[in-house]
């Protein structure tokens, strides 16, 4: 059961990673990009349409991660502590912190993309998206490190 949840968690995270990376690059790409160029095609996509998916995927991924975390604390973390994997545990601590902070930003993030107001600086929306993208990338990479820590490369 936990293994299935972990796999679903990682699949949701992959989808989230793709969506938010696309949106972030589109938000920060130069407006004058050539229409046929890579960034030109990136910007042609309606970035706002990603916002619903990103908010839902983030919430689902965090929820699944929160469930799997209980098993991690009982079945894995004590052994990592015994074997002195303190840096990896520190990275995971940061993942928890960043995910929570990102969770608090979701309502504002959604509003910035789905209900923008005319006098709101576009930079706020782009920066907020970049912060969330950093959190998602951090969570994804640290999740991979923790998943593989006692296997390949150990």
């Amino acid at each position: 059961m936990v293994t299935a949840l972990l796999i679903i968690h990682s699949l949701v995270a992959v989808a989230l990673l793709g969506a938010i990376t696309h949106q972030t690059l589109a938000a920060w790409a130069p407006a004058g990009a050539e229409p046929g160029s890579f960034f030109g095609r990136f910007r042609a996509v309606q970035s706002a349409s990603f916002a619903n998916a990103i908010a839902v995927l983030y919430a689902v991924s965090a929820l699944l991660g929160g469930i799997v975390y209980l098993n991690f604390k009982v079945d894995i973390a004590p052994y990592l502590e015994r074997d002195g994997h303190w840096q990896a545990l520190g990275l995971l601590d940061l993942k928890e912190d960043f995910i929570s902070i990102g969770f608090g930003l979701l309502p504002a993030y959604w509003l910035c993309w789905r209900r923008p107001v005319a006098d709101e600086p576009g930079r706020t929306r782009a920066a907020l998206t970049a912060v969330l993208a950093f959190i998602v990338w951090w969570g994804f990479l640290v999740g991979h490190v923790m998943n593989n820590i006692m296997g390949f490369g150990s």
Binding site: W86, F98, G102, G104, L105, P107, V117
Partner: protein
């Protein structure tokens, strides 16, 4: 922040306050509850296995504070959000919208600082 509708003021205040309150909860040990997943026990407040029993108990009954810190920040931020939503729009006009992303960035840096002991082990 401009003279925005109430939900907008709520969401902006909530996100900003959540980041600050999460760091405060993390730094000051203000977990609303502590979870012991191996025992299936949830206790109000922040507890440490090693403080009430043998340090070895932490291996058998590890505690989880993350949910408690998040709950503390969520409830606190909810209060700030509700207050912001109830304020007249022009009262929040002068607040710089960049706080919405600058505050979480500083909160994340603070979390890195709080995590440094892990990297000194």
């Amino acid at each position: 922040m401009t003279s925005a509708p109430a939900f907008r003021r709520f969401a902006f205040a909530y996100g900003t306050a959540f980041a600050v309150l999460y760091v405060a909860a993390r730094a000051r040990g203000l977990a609303l509850f502590t979870v012991y997943p191996s025992l299936g026990v949830v206790l109000l407040g922040m507890h440490r296995s090693r403080d009430v029993a043998d340090p070895a108990l932490e291996f058998i009954a590890p505690e989880v504070w993350w949910y408690g810190w998040t709950a503390t920040a969520a409830i606190g931020a909810l209060m700030f959000g509700l207050v912001a939503a109830l304020l007249p729009g022009q009262w929040t006009r002068w607040i710089w919208p960049g706080l919405l992303w600058v505050t979480p960035v500083f909160a994340m840096i603070a979390c890195v600082y709080l995590t440094i002991p892990w990297f000194r082990e």
